[in-house]
């Protein structure tokens, strides 16, 4: 059951530029999370935004959430080659089903060229 859909599927930028990735989802949520995956590795949790928050910052990361549009964006400022990775959004949906069962999108593959 795919909920989050990231856009674009792939993004290539130069070092120092900003990278913006978007995520759309279908049902109401408790929170939305962003994860990073370096090539061939596990996912690493980056940042979480609750449904009653509109914006959150962590270092060079800025996340926004628009619950009326069911969308979120992840902005990485002043990108570095080390930011090259795939980025996934994951939603914690509000429904009477299984708690803690996050729904992951298919990811955006970011390539930062030095």
């Amino acid at each position: 059951s795919q909920q989050g859909e990231e856009d674009p599927q792939a993004l290539s930028i130069q070092e120092g530029e900003n990278a913006t990735m978007n995520c759309s989802y279908k049902t109401s949520i408790n929170n939305l999370q962003w994860y990073r995956q370096n090539s061939g590795r596990g996912l690493v949790h980056l940042i979480l935004i609750r449904s009653n928050e509109r914006e959150k910052h962590s270092g060079r990361l800025r996340v926004t959430l628009d619950t009326s549009k069911k969308s979120s964006s992840l902005l990485i400022t002043a990108s570095r080659a080390a930011d090259t990775a795939s980025y996934f959004c994951a939603t914690d949906p509000i429904y009477g089903g299984s708690q803690g069962n996050l729904i992951f999108g298919k990811g955006t593959k970011l390539s930062v060229k030095p």
Partner: protein, 114 residues
């Protein structure tokens, strides 16, 4: 720091073999998950568990089973491996005490079935 370990990074098995993938977490997390990740398909949930000896089917449980005899260990079993089970397998855990349910991932096991 949460640590989730998986028994193998790379595994090559023959069609028809029984395959065991082991996952161990050291943070006393209640919830544990098994995903498979394939290009273009994102993460797909195979099975999850909220407690010892409890298991729930995810989106693609066919051909798989799981075992959770101890809280820290969650095993994925391929009863009779087939070539279409060649994939990256990711284990994750999360705490029920934190209502935000961030997941912590292991490094992944890349399984090839020949």
């Amino acid at each position: 720091d949460v640590k989730v370990t998986q028994s193998s990074r790379y595994l090559v098995k023959r069609t028809g073999e029984k395959v065991f993938l082991e996952c161990v977490q050291d943070m006393d997390h209640e919830n544990m998950f098994w995903y498979r990740q394939d290009p273009g398909l994102g993460l797909r949930l195979i099975y999850f568990s909220y407690d010892v000896k409890m298991k729930e089917k995810g989106d693609i449980p066919e051909g798989y089973s799981v075992s959770r005899e101890k809280k820290e260990r969650f095993s994925l079993i391929l009863e009779s491996a087939s070539t279409n089970q060649t994939s990256m397998y990711l284990c994750a855990s999360s705490s029920s005490k934190r209502a935000t349910y961030e997941q912590y991932f292991g490094p992944g096991t890349r399984l090839t079935v020949t």
